[in-house]
Subunit: 544 residues, 2 copies
């Protein structure tokens, strides 16, 4: 049965009618304890969702929806290692990557021996590099590490590496290359010394077009600089579930690290896919990252839904998407170190839940994942916040900040946080016509001008948001934060009745690209394509 | 009269009903010359909009809408220097910044003398720095330039600087600092030598909180390193319409460059706000950038609407937003050097047209600016494209690429472009159930599995897009591209009946932030705020 036909859904719909467009001003006036009642905390994270457009009653009804849905069963099944990624016939065990003890998920299916062995191998290799004891062909110590991967093999490690850069090894450069565009790889190579550079090639299949082309370019560059027939094995490592392909490429077998089919790319930063990250921040910080995530996993698995952060966060998204009709969700970090978080969450959410076919193959009867977008919040204020305040579109926002700065400078952090809190408050409460008139009168603006400008200076407010406030951006807090979003996505997928763990939607574009590519060399092949593609190819032919 | 009450609007609405959800497959089948008929070119830019969900007839009706709207009059009024930014009582003359000859907009209002004088002063200063002849206090040549500005004083120059980085001066580092977060400024300062660093403080009012705090931090850093009582004037330049404030801060009067109230921040990269950019790429390339934009300005001013790129682009956005109901617009550059373009366009579009009150103060009766979002397209394929292909949401996309690469590497550019063309094609045409079944049968998948997987592998298609294909990313082509988007925004603002040039929506958050800030030092002040803000402040107080 589709969730929209359930009693809980109908009850929520009726409740939504009743609540109507009740303004956050009223909601706050109605319930003086709202801020406490509609917030949760987990270790060093405060999750304040009191500025969402809902009441305690809404929350209760949403929790009932979750309890009546397949969610409890799906949580159980994920942690039991069942093959819940049904369209690919795989288990979903990224939670195993955070664990410290065997067996998991069960003695029969235990994946922990290989997880722990791999983690130990990663740590050994990372320590070697961090100690300056890994050498290139000519005996020079490796000083730069280039991660070559795309999507999940890039965004997760890069996002966390940036977030925890205050912990990064001072003498090692860690870089990320993903894009097919030579304009990413070529300028980076210009800054590197081939004698002291190591490339980590990260691809589950070891066939990803972008990654393999960039890896080949890296190999050509090394050969061109170190000599055509030298052994390059000191300059490569690999992460793949097809180790034989990595070895065939030229990576030493002891430098190939496994990943498994029960880890999706967008959930893989905790695995050997995070090797470059571990090299940057060290095995100890990496372990803390895992530990923070593991504790969030346990919170998610064991906490009653009404107090369960990922469940409540997921339910809020469902409320906003399916009842209030929000088409997007803005992610607004007030922390420069989280600058890649919006991109990371774009993948996590939109690739997981950007689907409109149910897990059993039936079209779903409701909207699913919104467009996730965003930027550093302070920058956004001077760019697109105009639309959030006065554009007339409903845009739920996630504000994310940390109390303490990793890079404290006098006066900066309080100013930053005051802006963060001010924006969510201004978005929620707005400024009424009467308030605008009063403040313009106070400024001494003449009556005629007040009349002209008044409508332009009114803020409707009622724009919903949550604030995630961390004490500080430690590895453990970040691990918990990322796991929080991972499980939020799981919650929504389970309630929407879709498979969050496949990604069939990426296949067609790849197939078409492989058919178009030969037409660059042989224009006659273009005739097989649509008129627009033909015209674009012709333009290239004319101007290449 | 509101545009929605016009005859042209009604005609378009009827046409939309008639066209219904006609699939792009049908539209291409119906009109074999569609690719040629629904594309335009301007100098080295091809604009292919044949994969938008419209026909030649739609285009004709949209052009009629534009002709019947206030647009022709508004174009005239902008180029005549009238005060079309009515809520701020200002002219809108960023086009003057691109021009090479006086008078403009008229002999009576001529702004060109000050524009040309400023441009010459900028060039002189830039050449001095590029020649290594600008010295810091101790006589060391300036090697690093830090632009301190936010919003329009950051995004434009930074975006273009990145786009044209292949032309950047090899011995000068040009950096951009915007955010209040010390985590942006502090790590940068660690890499700089105060003796050879110049800061350019860019703020129209010279009161922008972020910019002034970062400027003060820069000054403190210089003093701490160079001596408390040294003359720092060799380490600062400024761009402001309040030069006296810049001088009071400590900038030498000859290093203060003007901006004017007829330039909005988001339209200002062509002015002295682009000084850091000019230092990076040189006055010659900067002039080419201006010249490309100027030619687009002339194209916009003089070309009949049906062949006018900004007009057609703006009208397509109106069709997608107001008739098809798209809530967002994705910007997907297939060029690593354009990685900041989505952020730049977010500001340009959403700050200009993210409004719901008409120019005369009446609420508008239609949607206005969509959420503009995006990422480098090739990366997006491995992240959020899943949703574009199968998420069931209508998301018009702008694909942007250049035929030639600035950083050619064997095999990369064709692979990149084949992906760009493949994605827009796959989004447009999809893959039907029959096609999926046929290809699965060909792969040898057994019948039962075909039945299970089929619905997950179907692509509905009909996702509209335009492709902007540049011959190469030259300064002139980029100038034209940015001017194209600027005027697109103008077209939409004129038709929607809003003022694209004010930004009242940024005021409230600033005011609230200034009230919240003192509560960090004096918690008693928190009682004035809403319950959520109080709780967030209390959490900070506990964990700071």
């Amino acid at each position: 049965m589709t969730i929209t036909a359930s009693h809980s859904w109908a009850t929520l719909a009726a409740h939504h009618q009743e609540l109507g467009k009740k303004h956050l001003r009223e909601l706050f006036a109605d319930d003086p304890d709202r801020a406490a009642a509609l917030s949760l905390s987990f270790e060093d994270i405060l999750f304040d969702f009191s500025k969402q457009r809902l009441t305690r009653e809404t929350l209760g009804l949403l929790v009932q929806l979750a309890e009546a849905s397949f969610l409890p069963e799906w949580i159980q099944r994920m942690f039991d290692g069942e093959r819940i990624n049904v369209t690919e016939d795989r288990s979903v065990l990224h939670v195993a990557l955070r664990r410290s003890a065997a067996p998991f998920p069960s003695a029969r299916l235990d994946v922990m021996p290989e997880v722990l062995t791999t983690r130990a191998r990663m740590a050994e290799f990372a320590e070697l590099l961090r100690a300056g004891k890994a050498q290139g062909h000519h005996g020079t110590a490796i000083r730069d590490v280039v991660n070559i991967g795309i999507g999940g093999s890039d965004l997760g490690p890069k996002m966390v590496n940036q977030a925890l850069r205050s912990l990064a090894h001072p003498a090692l450069g860690v870089h990320y290359v993903s894009n097919l565009d030579g304009a990413q790889m070529a300028p980076l190579l210009q800054t590197l010394d081939p004698r002291s550079t190591l490339f980590i090639v990260v691809s589950k299949t070891f066939t990803t077009q972008e990654t393999m082309l960039n890896a080949e370019t890296a190999r050509s560059w090394l050969k061109a600089n170190l000599g055509d027939d030298v052994d390059l094995s000191n300059h490569f490592a690999a992460v793949s579930s097809r180790p034989e392909r990595a070895v065939a490429f030229g990576v030493g077998p002891d430098r190939v690290f496994p990943i498994w089919d029960w880890v999706g790319g967008r959930y893989s930063l905790w695995s050997a896919v995070g090797l470059a990250l571990m090299i940057a921040i060290g095995p100890h910080a990496f372990d803390e990252l895992l530990a923070g995530a593991e504790r969030m996993d346990e919170h998610f698995r064991t906490t009653p839904f009404a107090r369960n952060l990922p469940v409540v966060m997921g339910l809020i998204g469902i409320w906003n998407t399916n009842f209030l009709g929000a088409a997007t969700n803005a992610v607004l970090p007030y922390n420069e170190s989280l600058k890649y978080l919006p991109s990371f969450l774009q993948q996590l959410e939109m690739e997981s839940n950007g689907k409109s076919v149910g897990i059993a193959g039936d079209p779903v009867q409701h909207e699913t994942c919104p467009i996730v977008w965003g930027e550093l919040g302070n920058n956004g204020q001077h760019a697109f916040f105009q639309l959030l305040h006065q554009g007339g579109r409903l845009v739920p926002c996630d504000f994310i900040a940390s109390v303490r700065s990793d890079y404290p400078l006098p006066g900066h952090q309080e100013a930053l946080l005051s802006n963060c809190f001010a924006q969510s408050s201004a978005l929620a409460f707005g400024k009424t016509e009467d308030e605008v008139r009063a403040s313009m009168e106070k400024e001494g603006v003449v009556a005629e001008q007040i009349a002209d400008l008044l409508p332009h200076r009114v803020f409707a407010g009622n724009q919903p948001s949550s604030t995630l406030l961390l004490k500080s951006l430690t590895p453990a807090a970040l691990g918990a934060l990322v796991a929080l979003y991972e499980h939020k996505v799981f919650v929504q997928g389970a309630i929407w009745g879709i498979n969050s763990f496949d990604q069939w939607g990426v296949e067609l574009g790849k197939a078409v690209a492989s058919r178009i590519l030969p037409a660059f060399a042989d224009p006659a092949l273009a005739s097989a394509f649509d008129a627009s593609t033909r015209a674009l190819l012709a333009y290239c032919g004319k101007h290449a």
